[in-house]
Amino acid sequence: MSDAPAKAVADRLVKAKRLNALLTPPKDLRKSLSAQAAAARPTGVLYGMPVAVKDNICTLEFTTSCGSRILEGYRSPYEATAVAKLKAAGALIAGKTNCDEFAMGSSTEHSAYGRVLHPLDKTRVPGGSSGGSAALVAAGAVPAALGSETGGSVRQPAAFCGVVGIKPTYGRVSRWGLVAFGSSLDQIGVFGRSVHDAARVLSVISGRDPRDATCEDRDPLRLPTVPESLQGFVIGLPREYFPAELDPAVRRACDRAVRHLKDLGASVREVSLPHTPYAVPTYYVIAPAEASSNLARYDGVRYGPRFDGHADVRSLYRTTRGQGFGPEVRRRILVGTYVLSSGYYDAYYRRAQQMRSLIAQDFRNVWDRGVDLLFTPTVPTPAFKAGEKLADPIAMYMSDVFTVTANLAGLPAMSLPIGRVKGLPIGGQLIGQAFLEDEMIEAAYALERVVPATDEA
């Protein structure tokens, strides 16, 4: 490949600099893209396609800081399987994207490297935690990007920024090289300008990996064709996802999308997922518990910078962790340590594990009644103002109310743009059955063709 495409990719990314969405310095980006373009395999299915990568996914080309001071300047000695598969398919790794520190947040305001701006309104957030990836795709800087999900960190920013975001089934994509946050919930996800862009990247990164025991021994996802109609599809509307307090414009956009689904021939019926109200509290026990364990490894001994002011090894741990982690990560480590500590384990952690089972059973009950897919709003509101929810962690957590359930149940889910309110995008969510991403993508293909995604709802 000549150097011209690599230069054009770098130019587009540098032009989007005002968003603070990319953490890779322009000089490093240009140098690496030229080298990658020269080495890219022309026979790959993604030959020449630039894909930006969230900063919590390990790459050899660029540093991996997870948006944290505690990993500032960290160079991984290996790369994620998903990244290796992208490169093997001829894609260009187009730099590392800004994110909430260790993927903990819903607004990309919790990055040690500054907040990411919403591409359509700089006073608003792009969502999070993969806000940098979503913003770059929405700004047209790259056609696709990798993000990661623990509770909605791909779908929520995709909805806020007006792009497509897919979270695959737990076990569909290898987690090797994805920096661990909540290991029973984490999955690499994909952003795209269109359903097809996102789906074809997902297809490339999916499939077995002997290095990740939680990755299923399955062939890569086969992409469906764009269907003529949705005849034969049964789509459920869970009533718990359409509460009275739902933003009226979000409701209007969903109603319009449902009319389109019916026009396409799908049979639409109301269903119930009765344990949904407990999903956010369940998530905010399990995810911090797993985080407090996973983040114990950052102690100033093996990776990243070591902070001054220590006399012995224990004060080295405490100083490095106290100064290296930001406020939201500290909060979650403390909450996780609390719920796992003696005397509280049964009251919180065990109860949350049981509730997770009931939430997963809710979905199985719906599938058993012949429902193929669920359609819901992705987020209860459009993108909120920067700073609006920073002082209130619970208000921030409620932004994930419609997305955490798919993570808890390990199901595939995706967001696609279905309309706008005062110029701000609204996302519609499809939730599918485990390892039936092809059906979910088929319905998304059909809906994408007819829904007026940029029209006011």
């Binding site: 076990g171 029973s184 012995d312 090894v313 004060s315 100083t319 609390y338 962690p393 619970i394």
Partner: protein, 97 residues
């Protein structure tokens, strides 16, 4: 408040996390709000027969018991804060409890 300042400090020590004295009241207050919020799970009747849900493969796949290290592009000397002759260097250990 469900989490006192003393309890927040004890948890921070368990988590090996330095917390400023000045920041402690606000941290205890925020932890309390989060703990009070997730405590709504206790309103649901405990059911001893419900097993914990674990996503992923139904059966654990066993692999051959072989040492099979992942290839590293470079060694720990490149990313460790202090590394010498195959060891990560740390300060003295004598005050470790």
């Amino acid at each position: 408040m469900s989490v006192s300042r003393e309890e927040a400090l004890r948890i921070a020590q368990l988590a090996e996390l330095d917390v400023d004295d000045a920041a402690l009241p606000e941290l205890a207050e925020q932890m309390s709000r989060i703990i009070d919020y997730v405590a709504q799970l206790s309103a649901v009747p405990a059911n001893g027969t419900v097993k914990a849900f674990v996503p992923g493969p139904d059966a654990i796949r066993f692999r051959a018991d072989e040492v099979n290290p992942a290839p590293l592009a470079f060694g720990p000397a490149e990313f460790a804060p202090a590394f010498k002759e195959g060891f990560f260097l740390v300060p003295k250990l004598d005050q470790f409890e």
